[in-house]
Symmetry: C2
Subunit: 240 residues, 2 copies
């Protein structure tokens, strides 16, 4: 198919289904087109599942031929890998930015939670959460595991920093990081069925859900052992 056939779609690249008509020089456009291939694949995998999606369908969604897809990625497995990477990149970038910031760990964690939620609510969410690592070969799978580990370490680091700088409630950083990541990852399970909220609204809601609970308590329930005494108090509250 001639690229010019699609020129009408190129008016607003953000809205365009395919970026092929934009002709501003090969090298500059290569990454834009590659991103479009990855994004289209993410949407197709999310809609039909990885195993039920063919590269023909990805090509069709972009109005290009399958050989065009092969110009940007080696095969379907690499495409899934790139979807993982594209989604994880947003979280990774927030984690790296957080590591360099001088703000309180609580504020930095809020930024990470927001970006994490936005990434999971994006078209890459399905690949990041619901595609199986095992669909990738050992080498690519190791790379994804390394990226995920970096995010896990980043979350734990922020929690530990927050306990040190006094901006985050005392907690088990490993379990809290698992809980945070789990709650955020799970967005990919329910969001597809419930699009009544925008990704930004979901991100705000999750920042709020965790934010208050993570603030250090000045009211006598700062550490786990004190939960028992709080429990008794809660029961009294209930009884009155």
């Amino acid at each position: 198919m001639a690229e010019t056939d699609l020129a009408i779609h190129a008016v607003d690249p953000a809205l365009a289904a395919s970026p092929w008509p934009v002709r501003d020089g090969r090298s500059r456009n290569h990454s834009v087109k590659r991103d479009a291939v990855i994004r289209a694949a993410a949407r197709a995998f999310s809609a039909h599942g990885y195993h039920h999606t063919s590269l023909d369908e990805v090509a069709e969604a972009l109005n290009v031929s399958k050989p065009t897809i092969y110009y940007y990625v080696a095969n379907k497995e690499q495409l899934l890998f790139e979807c993982f990477v594209a989604g994880l990149a947003q979280i990774q970038s927030a984690i790296r930015k957080a590591a360099k910031s001088n703000r309180s760990a609580h504020d930095r964690l809020k930024d990470v939670i927001r970006n994490y939620a936005l990434a999971i609510a994006s078209e890459y969410g399905w690949c990041m959460v619901r595609a199986e690592d095992q669909d990738l070969g050992p080498k690519l799978s190791r790379q994804i595991k390394a990226l995920k580990s970096e995010i896990d370490r980043g979350l734990r680091r922020l929690l530990i920093d927050g306990m040190r700088d006094g901006s985050i409630q005392q907690c088990d950083p490993k379990m809290m990081a698992f809980a945070l990541a789990g709650a955020l990852n799970w967005i990919a399970h329910w969001y597809r069925e419930n699009k009544s909220m925008s990704a930004a609204q979901i991100a705000d809601a999750f920042v709020e859900v965790f934010s208050v609970g993570l603030i250090p308590r000045k009211d006598g329930a700062n550490s786990a052992p004190r939960v028992t005494s709080r429990k008794r108090r809660s029961t009294k509250t209930n009884a009155r």
Copy 2:
């Protein structure tokens, strides 16, 4: 295979790989054996994935023939359904018990979180979380959705009750229920790779992670809008 061949395994039913040798009357044993079939299927699905598990393998794990499996379930799809049901039953039962209790909603929610974590860390966790609903036909899938909805409603109800009886921090019950369920469901993703903790330890850790954060704040950060002022305070704490 003759059932008596396996009599040696029947000394301790809790440890036995197969309950067939126990001969205490058909009707009483039927449900024990059926449970064993479902449990063996759950383990096989979790180890190899639903699509890569055959009923022959489930039968082999129990040292019985495939026709024996068909005596308890109609087909592989029903087996997956029963795995969902078995896992969800523990959470459902905790939710129903919680609804009848007079204790504070915070304490009741802690019980539900504990049972939820135990269920997900059990052999049924993979089926409940990582098997796709779409592997079930429309009718069975609707039944699973209904069970999951009951659990979601139960969590929201406890959160709302807790905001009313003063035992739970003000929050958006819908988002908090999604966050809780997501964090707990996610255990099925990381627990298989990290068996250094027992299911009970994980359950304790998750009760603790959520418990402190959900206690109402008496220190001026009781509702979402106040997070902003807390945020500023946190930053100050950081700067000093």
